[in-house]
């Protein structure tokens, strides 16, 4: 278990900014721009890390504490999500509801941070984030609960183990509907087009960026890095529940005392490779979305997110009548 | 003339007086009619009492004559004098309708007694319908007259009806109770007299039209 913890932790912590770079690079190339190099996020993080932090004189100690809390939550979430192997590093202690809860905790601290500086843009970003996340939650949880009800447990490791065992039969109608719903919700959660524009600093349109506007120096670095981690967490939930194939399954022959022994080193290597491929594919998909779609008007969002919830609801109804 | 014969005759007379009461408009005349009714009933009681040799019934008759025949009309007369108008100008029931009502009352009284069909004292078969007719006439008067004195007259007729029923069923109630009833009735009329004077003094009229502002 410790090996998995270290392996998955280090890989994700190292690789997260890369995926952001790849997405941005793809978007610019699709827009016939050369665009920054794929490693640019690392340079940004390092630059902010060494700069002096400036905070508003109206702010409270929360401005110092919030970035640390958000980053810690995201790192914890990374360790609780099965990515490399079927089991997440902390698989015994948490399930999908806890991870969704952690995302909510991070969001709460971020919105409070947005309030703290007393600027209009922070408030605007925070209020939109809250309203959108309220619409996202039902779709998100319902989609996941379809899989949970089918698997008979809300632990992600159990769900992905079952998915892996089922193989292609996993993609039955309810699961597909749930996957579609989750996809829409994932876009809203990670802040990509058509709901939010991750690269813009145009005050009226940014949601996630708006909350970070007042952060600077190491705080900005932490918050941006947390954003990258969040992307990995959301994608790995999607993969674990809907595309668990290839993740390192526990060894085929259970150990003497019947407990599943840790996956063999070879399986782990395959797992890492497969995870990398999956993450890249997702990044490219989000990149395509960013390039292809413009940002929707905020008042039209309920219809899109309502569609996601509707898909989830139909998935739930279908899951009762069709064998999922 | 046997006791039953006297009772029968008196009953017939009382019914006629009842019809007259319903038709008349002048309050003076209605007071006279109700007084004669009471006296007749008293006379019938005395006759039957002396015939049967029961002193209670005789004393009952005397009480009826004394209280309802004489004392009550005195109060009613003085009430009449205290107000200018002595005629029921617009009772709630027109002349034709009141005639119809009087006949209906007699008809209803007759069928009611036949329907109930229990036997009271001898001669009751004539007295009971008259009694019930008087009860209904009394109620009709109270429901259709506007002047306060007429209401009291209606009450007296209603009371006569009940006394006659008592007489028809059991030759009246035990003496103490008869005394109490008569006394209460007299005090009721006296209170009516007091309030009529007060009403004329304060409201200036004796008609119930001015007694209609306590609502809801």
């Amino acid at each position: 278990m410790i090996a998995l913890l270290l392996l998955q932790g280090s890989l994700v912590l190292a690789g997260a900014p890369l995926f952001a770079g790849v997405a941005r690079r793809l978007k610019s190339r699709l827009q016939y721009r050369h665009g920054p190099s794929v490693w640019q996020p690392y340079r940004d993080l390092w630059k902010w890390w060494s700069k002096q932090a400036v905070e508003s004189d109206a702010s409270s100690p929360l401005t110092a504490a919030a970035p640390v809390l958000v980053l810690a939550t995201m790192v914890a979430a990374v360790l609780m999500v099965p990515l490399v192997a079927v089991d997440s590093p902390l698989s015994g202690a948490t399930d999908l509801l806890v991870i969704v809860g952690l995302l909510a905790l991070a969001r709460m601290v971020l919105v409070l941070l947005a309030f703290d500086a007393g600027s209009a843009f922070g408030g605007m970003g925070g209020s939109r984030e809250v309203a959108i996340s309220a619409l996202v939650e039902p779709g998100l949880v319902l989609a996941l609960s379809v899989a949970a009800a089918a698997a008979g447990s809300t632990d992600l490791s159990v769900i992905s183990a079952r998915g892996q065992a089922l193989g292609p039969a996993l993609l039955s109608a309810p699961m597909l509907l749930a996957a579609a719903a989750f996809a829409i919700v994932a876009v809203a959660e990670t802040g990509h087009a058509p709901i939010d524009n991750p690269d813009t600093h145009l005050e009226l349109t940014m949601i996630h960026e708006g909350m970070l506007l007042e952060a600077s120096g190491r705080r900005l670095a932490m918050l941006t890095y947390a954003g990258h981690l969040k992307f990995v967490v959301v994608v790995s939930i999607f993969m674990a529940v809907f595309l668990p194939f290839g993740a390192a399954a526990p060894a085929a022959v259970p150990g003497l005392d019947g407990a599943a022994i840790d996956p063999t080193p070879l399986a782990l290597l395959i797992g890492v490779a497969v995870a990398a491929v999956k993450l890249t594919v997702a990044t490219l998909a989000f990149g395509l979305l960013d390039a292809g779609l413009t940002k929707m008007r905020i008042l039209v969002l309920p219809s899109l997110l309502g569609l996601a919830t509707l898909l989830a609801v139909t998935a739930v109804a279908a899951s009762l009548w069709l064998p999922s | 003339m046997t006791a039953a014969g006297i009772v029968g005759a008196v009953a017939g007379l009382i019914i006629v007086l009842g019809i007259a009461l319903v038709l008349t408009r002048s309050i003076g005349r209605s007071i006279l009619l109700v007084a004669t009714q009471s006296i007749l009933a008293g006379v019938a009681a005395i006759a039957v009492g002396s015939a049967l040799g029961q002193w209670q019934i005789v004393v009952g008759g005397v009480l009826a004559i004394g209280f309802k025949g004489l004392a009550a009309p005195v109060f009613l007369r003085s009430m009449l004098r205290s107000t200018a108008v002595a005629v029921e100008r617009r009772p709630y029931l027109g002349p034709r309708l009141s005639l119809l009502a009087a006949i209906a009352i007699v008809f209803v009284a007759a069928t009611a007694t036949a329907d109930i069909g229990f036997t009271g004292t001898p001669g009751a078969e004539r007295a009971l319908p008259a009694a019930i007719a008087e009860v209904l006439t009394g109620l009709l008067l109270v429901m259709t007259r506007r002047k306060v004195m007429s209401l009291l007259v209606g009450l007296l007729v209603f009371e006569n009806g009940i006394a006659l029923t008592a007489f028809a069923l059991t030759y009246g109630m035990p003496f103490v109770v008869e005394l109490g009833i008569a006394f209460d009735l007299l005090v009721a009329v006296a209170v009516g007299w007091v309030y009529t004077r007060r009403m004329v003094a304060v409201l200036g009229t004796a008609s119930t039209d001015s007694l209609r502002n306590l609502r809801g």
């Binding site: 409270s60 948490t94 600027s119 408030g123 109804a317 | 109620l139 429901m143 609502r215």
Partner: protein
């Protein structure tokens, strides 16, 4: 020493409360000692709760009032958690009141407050219908007295009246229900009623269920019977609203557990469906109205409606388990409801106390006029923060622990093949509704804490606020500790709740619950908390390692000097939500722009937006108007003519004669 311990501590508790009432009669000066006695009384009640949880229940007979109506008490396992909640929140509220300026406003408060605590204590132990109803109405009357207070303004009078009238009407339903239930049993104690209830024919059982549901849902504040809650709570002094939201509202939950499930027993499936639908509706609407509320205490009151809705979801699953005779599901559902009831009692009590501190420091509850309190009131900010994270339902805090269990029970019910599909879908959709309400609640509490504590103060009073006294902070700190503890030790509390549900069902003979709740997923709060803590420390250390000192500068506001006017107020914060949920909220906007005379430049812009509470405007207002209109028409019966009245008598006589024909 199992039995006597309980009645000794109960008499001590009631003794303290009676003493408190007596001392308060001596005059306002004795307020503090009276409240101290009330605090001791609450502690004693908590002790009784503790004993009841682990000892065998003991019957205490207080005396017969009239014929077969007697007051008997029996504190069993089910009463234990509620008593403990009452004890803890009661102690905190009393200590808070000791330090608060309107803790003991008059002699009436002095008597009503201990009476309120005592009636709640008696309610949880009532073992006969009469004792239950006596405690129920005494609770309503004493809390109404506290809401009215010595010098109530017109809004307080309206709020107090609506509260008392609705509670009294609900109590009438309870009286009818108990009468129906106890009809054959001759109103002996609950045990005899339990047998009688099984013998009732199904139609009668349905009527009893509906009456009980209306009675208990009104007290719990379930939509559409909730309109008194957001009116009464803000008018009461904060320590009383903490008790009302924390414990009194739970009397409705206790009623469902004790009477509907305990006495009436399992019924047809639509019972569970009704409870689940009501729960989901209340959760979503409660959270939605909380999000768009500007008054801090009304916001907390609406969030109580949301949390009670969530608890009803748990109760619904419990009822469902009893219907399909799946003991594991019943234990899970009821344990989830019990855990969230206790957690909510603690963190909502904490939030109301903190809100009380804000109101006494700034003199207002309007979030738009607050702001920047964190600098002047750091302690209150921290304590409100603890309550806020609990209310937001984020791990590893106590709100999440309860909601996680409710999620588990709904998912278990959804996955249970024994349940017919319609209800399984309802359970799974309830999962969506619960998720929506949690999201909205997070928005509401973030708006409240952000606009109250952070950035610049938006009114002179908020700017000049001072931290509240030591006692008030200590009381809130007590509840904060309980909240944090309940969050971390959710695992053991969960198991304890399972055993309590199972123990309280044993004497009934019906196998209501199995062992500790069987869960679909795993959630070890201690592991999650320690991982988080470790990473936070590591990140903080790395963040501080050779970092340049932080420079403070005014916020950049496009070149003009930043003022409080630039900030996002509470109203502006929930504008997107108001627009997103426009069909339900029907926001009404009034904008007035005053220009400098003769110039196109606006001198002042006033903006008012309020939300139309549909339940009230579509259901209660027309109902009220219709009843007044009917009364006006009925009053024409008495329009004054003497002759008509005599006609009434004669007509009635004729009807009676006809009716009495042999």
């Amino acid at each position: 020493m199992n039995g006597p311990g309980m009645d000794v501590s109960l008499t001590i508790a009631l003794g303290f409360l009676a003493l408190s009432a007596a001392v308060s009669l001596l005059g306002p000066r004795a307020g503090k000692t009276a409240l101290a006695l009330a605090a001791l009384g609450s502690v004693a009640l908590a002790v009784v709760g503790g004993l009841a949880a682990f000892k065998e229940p003991v019957a205490l007979h207080f005396g017969t009032i009239l014929g077969s109506l007697s007051v008997d008490l029996r504190y069993d396992a089910l009463a234990a958690p509620f008593l403990i909640a009452l004890g803890v929140v009661g102690t905190a509220a009393s200590i808070y009141a000791m330090g608060h300026h309107d803790g003991m406003r008059s002699r009436l408060d002095g008597v009503a407050y201990p009476a309120f605590l005592a009636s709640l204590g008696l309610l949880f132990g009532a073992d006969t219908a009469f004792a239950f109803l006596l405690a129920w109405e005494a609770m309503a009357l004493s809390s109404a007295a506290l809401v009215f207070g010595p010098r109530p303004g017109p809004t307080t009078v309206r709020a107090g009246y609506v509260y008392l009238a609705l509670t009294h009407l609900a109590a009438a339903c309870l009286v009818a229900a108990f009468a129906l239930l106890g009809g054959a049993a001759g109103h002996a104690d609950f045990a005899a009623m339990r047998e009688a209830a099984q013998a009732l024919d199904p139609a009668a059982r349905d009527v009893v269920f509906l009456l009980l549901l209306v009675g208990f849902a009104t007290k719990a504040g379930i939509v559409p019977l909730h309109i008194w809650l957001p009116r009464a709570h803000p008018e009461a002094p904060s320590h009383v609203s903490a008790l009302m939201s924390g414990v009194m509202v739970k009397a409705g939950i206790f009623g469902v557990l004790r009477v509907v499930i305990g006495i009436l027993g399992p019924g047809p499936a639509w019972w569970a469906l009704a409870v689940i639908v009501l729960g989901a509706g209340s959760a979503v609407l409660g959270a939605l109205y909380a999000l768009v509320e500007r008054d801090l205490k009304r916001l907390l009151a609406f969030s109580t409606i949301e949390n009670v809705g969530i608890i009803f979801l748990g109760l619904g699953v419990g009822l469902l388990g009893a219907t399909v005779n799946a003991p594991a599901l019943t234990t899970l559902g009821l344990a989830a409801a019990l855990v969230h009831t206790l957690n909510h009692a603690a963190f909502k009590g904490l939030l109301f106390l903190a809100a009380g501190s804000i109101q006494s420091a700034t003199g207002t509850r309007d979030l738009d006029k607050l702001g920047g309190l964190v600098r002047a009131m750091p302690w209150t900010a921290l304590l409100f923060g603890v309550g806020a994270v609990a209310l937001a339902g984020v791990p590893p805090f106590s709100g999440f622990a309860g909601e996680w269990l409710i999620f588990q029970s709904l998912l278990t019910a959804g996955a249970a093949t024994a349940v017919d599909p319609v209800i399984r879908i309802a359970c799974l959709l309830a999962v969506g509704a619960l998720a929506l309400s949690v999201g909205l609640a997070l928005g509401a509490i973030v708006k409240a804490s952000g606009s109250a504590f952070l950035a610049l103060p938006r009114s002179p009073r908020a700017g000049a606020a001072l931290e509240v006294g030591r006692l008030e902070r200590a009381a809130a700190a007590l509840l904060a500790l309980v909240t944090l503890g309940a969050g971390l030790f959710a695992g053991p509390i969960r198991a304890l709740a399972g055993t309590i549900v199972e123990a309280s069902s044993r004497p009934t003979g019906t196998t209501l619950g199995g062992s500790a709740p069987v869960l679909l997923g795993s959630y070890e709060p201690i592991v999650v908390a320690s991982v988080l803590a470790f990473i936070v420390v590591a990140a903080w250390a790395i963040g501080r390692w050779r970092a340049a000192p932080v420079r403070r500068a005014p916020t950049w506001a496009c070149g003009i000097a930043p003022t409080a006017a630039h900030e996002y107020t509470a109203t502006s914060f929930d504008k997107p939500a108001r627009l997103f949920f426009e069909p339900i909220l029907r926001p009404v906007r009034a904008r007035r722009v005053e220009f400098e005379p003769g110039t196109p430049f606006p001198h002042r812009v006033t903006y008012r937006s309020n939300v139309d509470h549909l339940v009230e405007s579509r259901l209660y207002v027309p109902l009220h108007r219709a009843s007044i209109a009917f009364a006006q028409v009925a009053r024409r019966l008495q329009q004054g003519t003497l002759q008509l009245y005599v006609a009434y008598t004669v007509v009635a006589l004729v009807i009676l004669l006809v009716a009495a024909r042999p």
